[in-house]
C-alpha cells in the first residue's frame, strides 16, 4: 500500500484577478458554477487528514475570491493541519489577513511577478504591485512567516537581483525563484517565455551569491530551467508519493499539472473518497515506484533522484506519459527539446503573450 500523503494542495478556485501568461492552471479553467461547495471542501479536508495529510495549501487561482475562505481556514486548522495561504496579495486587506491569521493561517506565500511596478503589472496584466507590497507589510505586521514566489522567464530573468532585493524588502523568509515549467498557459506562451542561455548564465551566479549572502536570513530556492539542462528536474518525491491536488471542480490530481495527460483517467471527490483515489485509482498508481519505467530510466542510477523526470512533460512532448522526460540528455527524444530551444529561445518575431483568462 502507498504511504500516506503529507500535503493537500486545495485549488479552491481558478478565478483570479491576475492574468499571468505562465499560470500553472490548465488552459481549460474551471468556471465558478462548477466549483466545489463549502461542504464539499470541508469533507475533502476531513478525508485528507484521515488519509494522513498534515499540510493544507489553500491555493487557486486566487483563494481570497472564495467567500468561505475564513470558514475553510478554521476547519483546516481544527484538524491540526498546517495552513498555508497561497495568494497574489490582491484583495488581502489588513482586516482580512488579521481574521485569517486568528483562524489559523500559519504561513503566507505571496506571488511577485517582477522586481518593479512596471514589470510586475505588465506580466500580471493588472495593477497589482502596490497591493502586493502592502500585503507583505500586513503579513509582517501579523508576524506570520512569508514566502515570496517568482516565476522566472525571458521577461524578468535579467531582473533577478532586483527581485531578490524586493523579496528582502518585503520581509520574506523564503524566496522561491522557479523557472517556468511549460504546461498549460506557459506551454502556449513558450516562445515568449523561454529564456536564452545568456540570461540563465548571467542569473545563475547572481542567485548563488545571494544564497550565500542571505544564508540564515532568507532562504532562496532556485528551480532550474529544465529545457536547458542535461537532466530533468525531479518529479516531486515521486508520483503519488507525498502530495495530492484537488482542483476547483473536485478532480483529484497526482500533480497540479496532471490534467495535461489526457490519457489519464481522473477521479473526482464527488464520486469517490480521497482514500480510495489515493490508494486504488489507476491515475495515482500509474507512475508510482519504478516498475512503469522504460529504458533508459529503468537501468539508470539517477532514477532514485529524478524519478525519470516529469510525466506531464513526457506526455506533452512525446505523446507517451511513461517515456523518459525528453529534457534528459539520455532520452531518445532530446532532439525535440533542442529544436524547441533553437526555434523559440530567440524567435525572429516574438508573439504577443496570451494572457490567462476564463473562456
Amino acid at each position: 500500500m502507498a504511504e500516506a500523503p503529507f500535503g493537500l494542495l486545495a485549488e479552491l478556485t481558478h478565478r483570479c484577478p491576475l492574468q499571468c501568461g505562465y499560470c500553472s492552471n490548465p488552459v481549460e479553467l474551471v468556471r465558478r458554477d462548477a466549483e466545489l461547495s463549502t461542504e464539499d471542501w470541508r469533507r475533502v479536508f476531513d478525508q485528507a487528514r484521515s488519509l494522513g495529510a498534515l499540510q493544507i495549501h489553500l491555493s487557486g487561482g486566487e483563494p481570497l475570491l472564495r467567500p468561505d475562505l475564513p470558514e475553510l481556514v478554521t476547519h483546516a486548522n481544527s484538524l491540526g493541519c498546517y495552513v498555508n495561504l497561497v495568494t497574489s496579495g490582491v484583495g488581502l486587506s489588513r482586516e482580512r489577513l488579521r481574521d485569517l491569521a486568528a483562524r489559523g493561517v500559519d504561513h503566507v506565500q505571496l506571488s511577485l511577478q517582477d522586481a518593479t511596478r512596471e514589470g510586475n503589472d505588465r506580466i500580471a496584466g493588472i495593477k497589482a504591485f502596490d497591493r502586493k507590497v502592502q500585503a507583505a507589510a500586513f503579513v509582517r505586521d501579523e508576524d506570520l512567516p512569508l514566502t515570496v514566489n517568482t516565476v522566472l522567464h525571458r521577461q524578468n530573468l535579467d531582473n533577478v537581483a532586483g527581485i531578490i532585493a524586493m523579496a528582502e524588502e518585503m520581509g520574506a523568509e523564503r524566496l522561491e525563484l522557479a523557472n517556468t515549467q511549460y504546461y498549460g498557459w506557459a506551454l502556449r506562451n513558450r516562445a515568449v517565455l523561454l529564456p536564452t542561455r545568456d540570461q540563465l548564465a548571467a542569473a545563475d551566479p547572481v542567485v548563488a551569491a545571494a544564497q550565500e549572502r542571505l544564508r540564515g536570513r532568507m532562504e532562496i530556492v532556485y528551480v532550474i530551467a529544465d529545457y536547458h539542462e542535461a537532466h530533468p528536474k525531479p518529479c516531486m518525491y515521486g508520483w503519488g508519493a507525498r502530495q495530492l491536488t484537488v482542483a476547483p471542480n473536485g478532480d483529484v490530481l497526482p500533480c497540479p499539472a496532471a490534467t495535461v495527460i489526457s490519457t489519464l483517467k481522473i477521479e473526482n471527490v464527488r464520486e469517490k473518497s480521497l482514500h480510495d483515489i489515493w490508494h486504488d485509482s489507476p491515475s495515482f498508481n500509474a507512475f508510482r515506484g519504478f516498475e512503469w519505467m522504460r529504458y533508459p530510466c529503468r537501468s539508470c542510477p539517477r532514477k532514485e533522484i529524478d524519478f525519470g523526470g516529469c510525466r506531464c512533460q513526457a506526455f506533452q512532448l512525446t505523446g507517451d506519459a511513461a517515456a523518459t522526460d525528453p529534457v534528459c540528455s539520455l532520452s531518445p527524444a532530446r532532439s525535440t527539446v533542442d529544436l524547441i530551444l533553437e526555434t523559440e529561445m530567440a524567435p525572429p518575431e516574438v508573439p504577443a503573450m496570451a494572457m490567462r483568462k476564463m473562456p
Binding site: 503529507f6 494522513g52 498534515l54 498546517y82 504561513h107 508576524d143 512567516p145 514566502t147 523568509e173
Partner: protein, 92 residues
Amino acid sequence: MISAVALDAVPRIRRGVKCTYDQIRSAHVVLFPEGVLVLNETAASVVSLCDGVRSVGDIALVLGDEYDGVEPADIASLVARLVERRVVDVDG
C-alpha cells in the same frame, strides 16, 4: 553540508513551525512551510526542549536522565540537522 552546532548554542523552534502529534502515524511531527518531519522518540524529546533557554549541553543533560547512552555530540548533530531543515534556529 551540515555545519556543527556548539554545546553552548541555544536552539529554539523557528517562527511558523508547528510541533504536534499525528494520530494517523502515531508519531510526533514538525510542520513547516516546506514540509513535514516525522520524529522518532529521541528527536521528539530534543525538539520539545528547544525552548530558546536551554543550550545543547543542557538538553543532553536532561535527556541523559531519561535515556541511557545519550552523547552530547549526538544531540548536537541532531540539532544541526534540525537547523539544516529550518526547523530550529540557534543563538550563540
